[in-house]
Symmetry: C2
Subunit: 292 residues, 2 copies
Amino acid sequence: MRLSDLGEFGFLRELERRGLAQRIANDAARFAPDFVVTQDALVEGVHFRLDWTSWRDLGYKAAAVNISDLAASGAEPEALIVSLGLPGETEANDVVELYEGVAETGVPVLGGDTTSADRLYLSVTALGRAEQVPGRDGARPGDLLVVSGPLGASAAGFHCLKEGLESPLVRSHLRPPLRVAEGKELAGTAHAMLDISDGLASDALRIAERSGCRLMIELERVPVADGVAEIARQFDLDVHSLACGFGEDYELLAAVPEPGRFTVVGRCEEGEGVVFLRDGQPVEFSGWEHFR
Amino acid sequence: MRLSDLGEFGFLRELERRGLAQRIANDAARFAPDFVVTQDALVEGVHFRLDWTSWRDLGYKAAAVNISDLAASGAEPEALIVSLGLPGETEANDVVELYEGVAETGVPVLGGDTTSADRLYLSVTALGRAEQVPGRDGARPGDLLVVSGPLGASAAGFHCLKEGLESPLVRSHLRPPLRVAEGKELAGTAHAMLDISDGLASDALRIAERSGCRLMIELERVPVADGVAEIARQFDLDVHSLACGFGEDYELLAAVPEPGRFTVVGRCEEGEGVVFLRDGQPVEFSGWEHFR
């Protein structure tokens, strides 16, 4: 069977079933009493295009998506390790700019590896410290679902880049937020938490599958970032598809007993899967999954 | 300036000079009182060819080169994080075999990331625990240089692969040793230590540059692995070039006050650079450096 048949999540489940990897489906893995570690790779042509992003923004984003995984674990970032695969003809100044972008996140780079490659590969490991690490398997019926901020800006910014349209939303796509404080706050009470990297639809499904409950999400409650509705109109896109189906918003999604200061988008029930409701009626969504 | 002009080590030094990365030139970085972390990437076509290695051997080697960096830090491996970039048409069973190869090292996989890519890309992070971590900058005049085992088997095995010759040396190239016990033993007294990944010539130069002393290495004392001399004769290669110029032996090189049970290959003096001696006379060597 090919990876494209199994899909990314199906393959990761298979690895866990065989005992070849533990907790690989979590954002970050715990490895000592209070440390967590996470690693994400970005590949040119798959995750970014160098004609759409500056080297500095790319460095920032590569660090930010890993810091986001730490935030989803309620962790305080302590260090980054940056590995690069680069063509030999790369300008050294471009790579320095990439590292400057990494440094803008404020998390120190402790080491890494550079190697030659035919195109740009980045792999970043982030190390953090956390006392309470919510997984993805603790959500239970009765929990409220909250998000840490508005969604859809990254998707809309991506469309602007694709269509060559200048917009402040482009920055949201290139410079995801760092929700470290929110993650630590939510970790105190959350039964399950992750960061929205593949879209609310896909990411909610991970919590539903791991926790063994059904997540009901009311589209009217999903906070949509400023300017997204306008881009949706302009390109004849569904605003909720932008907010729930694309991802890369890097806001946090948590199942909590009490919402605190966060925005409620739905609730957990007995059952399975994710149901999106519009005007109380179920509607369909699909997310982004690698290999499929 | 291009990376190919600056070279890998020149570029890493530039990053450190600008304060953009700390200790990036070490095998592994220390990040909490007693943890070390390291990350190495392997790219298809650069570090391996899928017609020369099985997926299982590849998984083993990707883990082993990182465990070797921990060994060079005197650390006990605790966990691995494995990130893969893979074409969608990859057979899932091949990737399972890769993970089985990783598992053969005995170090648990705690997490990772899989993503689509045009060719196979592996990035492994290894986490370990160490009380004393020798760097590369502590060697001093009067120290003895020791290695943890014989060299050249990986180079000879690589030549056999290239020439389509079956030989037990091929296994040495595909399955590097894990010198964890030796690393912990040496870490107690070593003033500087690293693993021989780029060849004794290149790796000794790193200690010389960081420590500000000259490393004198006597070729007659360099232990050469069984069978290497025969391959050297067969392909008209210099046996010492195989043992000192190629790398991927993943034995440890340390500057120590006393050799203990390890093999002395030379000594540290006042001065700079690395000098290889044959019959007491200096000879030239060059190692392998990415981008150049």
